[in-house]
């Protein structure tokens, strides 16, 4: 039986990069078929294929780490760098939407009536639900830190409770935003205000849903005893992502909801 004499991870050949790329094709061409011809077959196939790819790929990562022990300290270091770089790329993604917002709101054109918010736009009151949303996400930042400390102290009961609370707060945020979306007197097609508002808050909401899903996966893995007090990088990655989502909201709240109203 051959054993490696180095601490790195030589991954088994895997079909998921290929299926991931193919499902991206199906998603994009599927969107075209839906937008232009109202046909949804390709899009549905793309959504199913991308979800199947994600499920199996990440399932394999769990197998390689928890069950096969491939995540040695150097490997974990690489994963940490990877997650940090990914989050940085997401920061740039949001930077684009904030750029668009500030470009239009700092120098309002005659088209908007020469001021911001534009004529005819009734912005949401930042002291109402948006403030509650801010409190909800800040609280979830506290509960996730509590989760981490409980995990490191091998406190199964408290880490489970704290993680459950974090997930509940994430869901609560999403529900509040959904209700806000149905109550806004303006839509995405209401000029540049509508566009910047819904693109920025919409993508943020999507990221909250992704983060909540990631945390839920961590909850399940925690129940299955995958995490140890010293090794729980999956959870740490979820926590970093969650804090990122929280910070983006703070920028959104201050820029678009508060200053922009």
């Amino acid at each position: 039986m051959t054993h490696q004499t180095h601490p790195y991870h030589m991954v088994n050949p895997s079909p998921w990069p290929l299926t991931g790329a193919l499902s991206a094709f199906l998603l994009t061409s599927g969107l075209i078929m839906w937008f232009h011809f109202y046909l949804t077959l390709l899009l549905t196939a793309g959504l199913l294929a991308s979800m199947a790819t994600m499920f199996q790929w990440w399932r394999d990562v769990v197998r390689e780490s928890t069950y096969q022990g491939h995540h040695t300290p150097p490997v974990q270091k690489g994963l940490r760098y990877g997650m940090i770089l990914f989050i940085i790329s997401e920061v740039f993604f949001f930077a684009g939407f904030f750029w668009a917002f500030y470009h239009s709101s700092l120098a309002p054109t005659p088209q908007t009536g020469g001021h911001w918010p534009p004529t005819g736009i009734l912005p949401l009151d930042p002291m109402e639900v948006p403030l509650l949303n801010t409190a909800v996400l800040l609280a979830s930042g506290v509960t996730i830190t509590w989760t981490h400390h409980s995990l490191m102290e091998a406190n199964q009961k408290e880490s489970t409770q704290a993680l459950a609370m974090t997930i509940a707060l994430g869901i609560y945020f999403t529900l509040l935003q959904m209700s806000e979306y149905s109550e806004t007197p303006f839509t995405i097609s209401d000029g540049i205000y509508g566009s910047t508002f819904f693109m920025a808050t919409g993508f943020h909401g999507l990221h909250v849903i992704i983060g909540t899903t990631f945390l839920t996966m961590c909850y399940i893995r925690q129940q299955l005893h995958h995490f140890t007090p010293n090794h729980h990088f999956g959870f740490e990655a979820a926590a970093w992502y969650w804090h990122f989502v929280d910070v983006v909201w703070l920028f959104l709240y201050i820029s678009i909801y508060w200053w922009g109203s």
């Binding site: 039986m1 088994n12 050949p13 895997s14 079909p15 998921w16 290929l18 299926t19 193919l22 499902s23 094709f25 199906l26 061409s29 599927g30 078929m33 077959l41 390709l42 196939a45 793309g46 199913l48 294929a49 199947a52 790819t53 199996q56 394999d60 197998r63 390689e64 928890t66 069950y67 096969q68 022990g69 199964q156 009961k157 489970t160 409770q161 129940q223 299955l224 005893h225 995958h226």
Partner: protein
């Protein structure tokens, strides 16, 4: 009556403060044994028959979908060319 109230409080505490709702046995060691089996099977199939079914379904969906999508796209492109070749007469 107060004693009953105190007893009720104790029962409430006891039922809540045992294990959390979902308490699973620690089966990590069994999984470790399964996935460390020296049988040459790659990790994406090593879990058993469900892995194989899921893998095949994903491949059919993606490769088949790609083939169908390209066919549909090509067919539509040719259709558009045909329509464009015969301009509608304007009265």
């Amino acid at each position: 009556m107060l004693r009953n109230l105190l007893a009720l409080r104790q029962i409430g505490q006891r039922t809540i403060s045992t294990t959390s709702r979902m308490h699973f046995k620690n089966r990590v060691a069994e999984k470790q044994k399964l996935f460390q089996e020296d049988d040459g099977i790659p990790v994406y199939l090593k879990g058993g028959i469900v892995d194989v079914i899921l893998y095949r379904a994903t491949m059919i969906l993606t490769v088949g979908g790609k083939a169908f999508g390209m066919f549909e796209g090509t067919a539509y492109a040719i259709y558009q060319l045909a329509v464009a070749s015969f301009p509608k007469k304007q009265d």
